[in-house]
């Protein structure tokens, strides 16, 4: 079976400065795949390129067999890719409900929107009490819930998460990762980027290790967790 998402030897960078030097990866339907790597390795750049916020200088990105390398983000979401960017990027002066509604901007059927709202409320009941509060006035943890919920509102096939754990206390991190597992169990494929390598690999099926724009390891989550090199470099053991 062909992979749901496939990046083939992509090269990309900013203003001609290369950041990713030939990266290939695959995500199969139903999986949770983690990309790990140090600060500046190019994790966010990879995610941004896949979702269409930027385009590869070379190489191809296939989603369900279709070449999406040149599609803008406003189109890839219509194909079923939802990217929750680093630092959440909620619309600060819009309310939680308005943020969620915009998450479903591509969905014209009102009853589907209502259904998705009740789904995300069952996942994050707390959001229901915050509906009319502006996003900027919520705590970091609530904002992260809201960001995940907003990302789910489009009804994605592939959910891409960039550093969910950023700025959250450990007990919340655990909750957020539990939510990711629950989302995955509902049939949504997940590609995530994390600095918390141990935690990420514990919920992932497979992982890739990125170092200055190149993949240096890949394997099942178990293999990476057991790899002495990975443990030394990223888990301080």
């Amino acid at each position: 079976m062909a992979a749901m998402l496939e990046a083939r030897d992509i090269h990309c960078g900013y203003d001609g400065v290369p950041v990713i030097h030939g990266l290939s990866l695959e995500v199969n339907e139903g999986e949770i795949v983690a990309i790990i790597g140090a600060n500046g390795a190019g994790k966010s750049t990879t995610m941004r390129t896949i979702c269409g916020l930027m385009h590869p200088d070379r190489g191809q990105i296939l989603f369900q067999g279709e070449d999406i390398s040149r599609l803008p983000a406003s189109e890839t979401i219509r194909k079923g890719i939802s990217y929750i960017p680093e630092a959440r990027r909620l619309f600060p002066r819009l309310t939680v409900l308005e943020n969620l509604e915009l998450g479903a901007f591509t969905e014209k059927d009102r009853s589907v929107v209502e259904e998705r709202l009740s789904e995300v409320f069952s996942l994050f009941p707390k959001l229901k009490d915050r509906l009319h509060q502006t996003a900027e006035t919520m705590s970091g943890g609530e904002q992260q819930m809201c960001a995940i919920a907003r990302g789910l509102m489009s009804g994605p096939k592939l959910l891409m998460l960039d550093e969910l754990s950023l700025g959250l206390m450990p007990s919340l991190v655990e909750k957020v990762f539990e939510a990711v597992t629950a989302i995955n169990e509902k049939g949504i494929t997940v590609l995530l980027v994390e600095q918390l390598v141990q935690e990420a690999l514990e919920i992932a099926d497979r992982g890739y290790v990125l170092q200055t724009g190149r993949l240096v390891h890949s394997g099942t989550a178990r293999e990476l967790l057991d790899s002495p090199e990975v443990r030394r470099a990223y888990m301080g053991m």
């Binding site: 406003s74 979401i77 990027r89 619309f91 901007f105």
Partner: protein, 286 residues
């Protein structure tokens, strides 16, 4: 006392008209960070559209505002497509200079085609009609224009606050990239916003020909006042534009009457300078 009411009403009516002119400017500024220097000339074009429709086809300004609004919506959208889009992302001065150039082109085109003469429609439905109210005399065409302005402003505000499209416009203003991630085609939003900004002055200009003469320089004063209103009211804020425009309208009418007609704009700009010095983000800014 009679004078007071008269001056107050004049100020409010003018203020409402300023508010709609400023709202268009403010929306473009708030969403795209672009200052449309041709905004006053857009108003002038709207007035000419309505004037010629009235003069040649005998369509009253009470109806031709629709055409003027539509024409300016298209002019705004085309301006975005051809001029603004290519200058965005370059230096901040680029769109500013580009729209300044456009204002010169529009003004000189009208000067060349229509001469610098003042043109006033005659025989309009509302011509010369007045209402008296507690001793004050209200010009009906001006009242109608002001009420229209209030209705259009309210609709615009409602659209921005209560509809998905409005949220999408706000989202684009706050974080363009995140808006793209929601599937919002921000290019289209910019196009629409420029169109709406044009339509605001198109509608105003279309109605104003029922009591004001049109000439190629007519936009100058209005755009100057609109800049002051936007700076006072806060960029992108419709209620801010409304309150600031009412303030400016009142300052203008009271200083014009109680001090001297020649100082009314001095007073307007004095208030502006005072506010900018004391509250650089505008009266209603954050």
């Amino acid at each position: 006392m009679d004078n007071f009411l008269q001056v107050l009403l004049d100020g409010v009516l003018n203020g409402l008209v300023y508010a709609l002119v400023a709202a268009g400017l403010s929306l473009i500024w708030g969403v795209m960070d672009v200052i449309n220097f041709a905004h006053g000339e857009f108003l002038m074009v709207g007035m000419y559209v309505s004037y010629w429709l009235g003069f040649i086809l005998k369509i009253d300004p009470l109806f031709s505002w629709v055409a003027a609004g539509l024409f300016l919506f298209i002019l705004g959208a085309v301006t975005y497509k051809i001029i603004i889009r290519n200058s965005l992302g370059k230096s901040g001065m680029a769109p500013l200079l580009a729209t300044f150039g456009l204002s010169m082109v529009l003004k000189n085109f009208c000067m060349n085609r229509f001469t610098p003469n003042f043109r006033l429609l005659s025989g309009t439905i509302l011509e010369g009609k007045t209402l008296s109210f507690g001793g004050a005399i209200i010009s009906v065409p001006q009242l109608v224009t002001a009420l229209f302005a209030l209705v259009v402003l309210s609709l615009l505000y409602w659209m921005l606050k209560k509809t998905r499209l409005g949220w999408a416009i706000q989202a684009t203003a706050m974080d363009k990239e995140a808006a793209e991630l929601m599937g919002i085609k921000t290019e289209n939003i910019f196009l629409l916003v420029f169109g709406i900004g044009g339509a605001c002055v198109g509608i105003t200009g279309g109605l104003m020909t029922s009591y004001l003469a049109v000439y190629p320089e007519v936009g100058g004063l209005f755009s100057l006042i609109a800049f002051v209103v936007v700076a006072l009211g806060g960029f992108g804020s419709i209620p801010g534009a409304l309150l600031a425009a009412l303030l400016i309208g009142l300052v203008e009418s009271f200083s014009g009457f109680y001090i001297a007609a020649v100082v009314k704009y001095v007073a307007v700009f004095a208030v502006y300078l005072a506010v900018i010095l004391l509250r650089p983000r505008g009266l209603f800014g954050w």
